[in-house]
Symmetry: C2
């Protein structure tokens, strides 16, 4: 990964020159961009709409639903959760087939996985997470802890083996962390952190919401037990599209999720008496899959797979390097702080800056056609989704911010 | 409700005459019907595609997602779960506003409600359901019972106060039943059954999957505690569209669902430390709502509301009466049994017939363009969704079945 210092780029022309050299630039045309003047730095909250998705939704709606009707379940719909799961797993998560499935929302997936993981360590009564973990992750764990009388142990400061070592121990049942911080974009050392948790006898659950589709993840190689993530950010799956979850093959027989339903049953259309789990990761399913959501995820994931996650990561580094360079050149002197890591290898695909007036600045940026994300109390997040963000977008967005300050 | 005996209709012309008189007939044109020769008697598994949904999905996709992007969450998306919930609640469930919300799948909604209900009766250790309840309902309860060490008590035979009286008692925490049987279409007496459960000190959870959009339900008046149902049958919400759930207003403060997530938190975008439930039924939400699914449900529910649930019920009775008349005239003598109630007031909007070769007959019907549902081991379900099924469809379907026998 490119981390060597570079000369700052001080003109819009030099940003445009980077776009001209960018071999991923043509992918932007694979998305619908109705307003070319909008500077959209929020693809990490809701990714843009792929053109292929427009066509696919039209086909699935008019032909598969409207014409084939109930028959479509036997003509491909029932296999979508595993098919799209394997596409995501193989092309960007380093997961061999049969371990990833698309289902529910991220919150429900986290609940299922955390619950299953806790059941697997019945003699332990502590759960580790970090104070800056995404709210829904924290709330899911709080709910489980309240119901089961467990203690939450909180990591403060940067997530990694050093911080984990302070709180993990023989009573730790589960360590649940985000791979890339939704606030700062800091990347946790997945492999070392997982190993440390395993050394203590705990299972590990990684939230991949801000990783998937932005940088390569190596779940199998890192020894990860459980993971979940969202599809409407860098995967461009659409608003509220279903999430995905990963259960390591060797755990699939032992781990049991709490929401037993007909989709997770062996021979579901037998509708027989008594729940018998389906084999493999399919037992993580509960209710009827959301077809329109699934095909949106499939189209979005196909674009990521076609571009290649390594090429996406390389461009993500260049985009965030440009943002950091511009920050140093024009924002640092205006009372702003960089909240993201300076070292590109330790930073995901967004750059976060801190300012006491962050909320107002975000609103004013939006009024001027620059969409960013406010994260309380004082953070502005610039999401630089590599498939759809141009280098000139970074330049324009930061220039607009400079003017406001 | 019309239950008086009528003279059997023995010709296709007389069925066509009923269509000519049907004031709901124009509603069929509000749906996409690409193959006019298909006899679709499965709208109770997957309802047809409303034309308005095609346009709405196109608008939401291209304009709200593609153009407005993340801003759409503040421009209406965030309110959809409650807005669509209230539409369903007020127009067909007899539920005052603020008690119904659209979320997740039916299975996950049942899990949340059952879990919340069980938590509210911590000193009781039995759950009542019936052996013919829909599989996912039974599995959800089995899972909760296994996790909490509860005993499942099974109703055998027809669901109602008589059968419930055999198994309910001072140890019953929750009674979970289907209002309309997915197998036979038998309607349970919701009010009397609920009262009996309450007399025993239990809470009641009704599954409305085969009721909603087919017949009026009076949740508030019947004193129902909890209910959930699906939107892709008579509501025509689309494949795997999100489900809805009802929590009686007076229970909302005390009942707490298990999957704590950011959508169910007070001031969700505060992203603050520590889960604090949102007020009202919104606390039943967990993860990010599925927007494409929600708008499909909204369009489908609007059609039901426009037609009026009483008019839909009246037509449903006429359609199923015709099916029963034709059954008596041509199927009964050919080795088939009627599995649905004969009395229209006790029957939902499908008619089920029993035959040892049901599986083969369903396949052969499908090959001839008559889509029905096989339900193991020996049932054929004829779903007569009133907004889209014509009287001639009933005639054609049963005529094709007669020819096969």
């Amino acid at each position: 990964m490119k981390t060597a210092p570079r000369a700052p780029l001080m003109s819009r022309e030099s940003a445009a020159a980077l776009d001209a050299e960018d071999r991923l630039a043509p992918f932007r045309n694979r998305f619908l961009i109705p307003d070319p003047h909008l500077v959209y730095l929020d693809g990490n909250s809701l990714g843009r709409l792929p053109r292929a998705t427009v066509e696919r939704l039209e086909h699935v709606t008019r032909h598969e639903w409207g014409e084939r009707l109930i028959r479509s379940w036997d003509e491909g719909w029932l296999e979508l959760p595993e098919e799209v799961g394997d596409l995501i797993g193989q092309s960007m998560l380093g997961a061999a087939p049969g371990q990833v499935i698309v289902a529910d929302s991220t919150t429900v997936c986290l609940y299922k996985l955390a619950s299953a993981g806790l059941d697997a360590r019945p003699d332990r009564n502590e759960v580790v997470t970090d104070v800056d973990n995404f709210p829904t992750d924290r709330y899911v764990l709080e709910g489980l802890a309240a119901q089961r009388g467990l203690t939450l142990r909180w990591i403060e400061g940067e997530v990694g083996p050093g911080a984990l070592a302070q709180v993990v121990g023989p009573r730790t049942a589960l360590v649940a962390l985000s791979h890339v911080s939704y606030r700062t974009a800091a990347i946790a050392d997945m492999e070392a952190t997982t190993r440390l948790a395993h050394d203590a006898g705990a299972l590990v659950l990684w939230d991949l919401c801000h990783s998937v589709g932005a940088l390569p993840v190596e779940l199998d190689a890192a020894g990860v037990d459980l993971a979940a993530g969202c599809t409407y950010k860098y995967l461009n799956g659409g608003p509220g599209a279903p999430a995905f979850l990963y259960v390591r093959a060797e755990h699939q027989k032992a781990l049991r999720q709490p929401i037993w339903g007909w989709l997770g049953r062996e021979d579901m259309f037998g509708m027989a008496f008594g729940y018998q789990r389906a084999g493999g990761v399919r037992s993580m399913l509960s209710g009827t899959p959301n077809v329109l959501g699934l095909v949106g995820v499939q189209e979005g994931a196909r674009l990521v797979a076609e571009a290649g996650i390594d090429a996406i990561r390389a461009k993500g580094i260049l985009l965030t390097e440009l943002a950091v360079d511009l920050f140093d050149a024009v924002l640092a002197q205006r009372g702003m702080e960089l909240a993201s890591p300076r070292e590109a290898a330790r930073r995901g695909a967004h750059v976060t800056v801190r300012h006491p007036d962050a909320a107002r600045l975000c609103r004013e940026l939006a009024a001027q056609g620059v969409i960013t994300d406010f994260r309380p109390p004082d953070l502005i997040r610039l999401g630089l989704s590599p498939l759809t963000t141009r280098f000139v977008d970074v330049w324009d967005g930061i220039e607009r911010l400079r003017e406001l300050l």
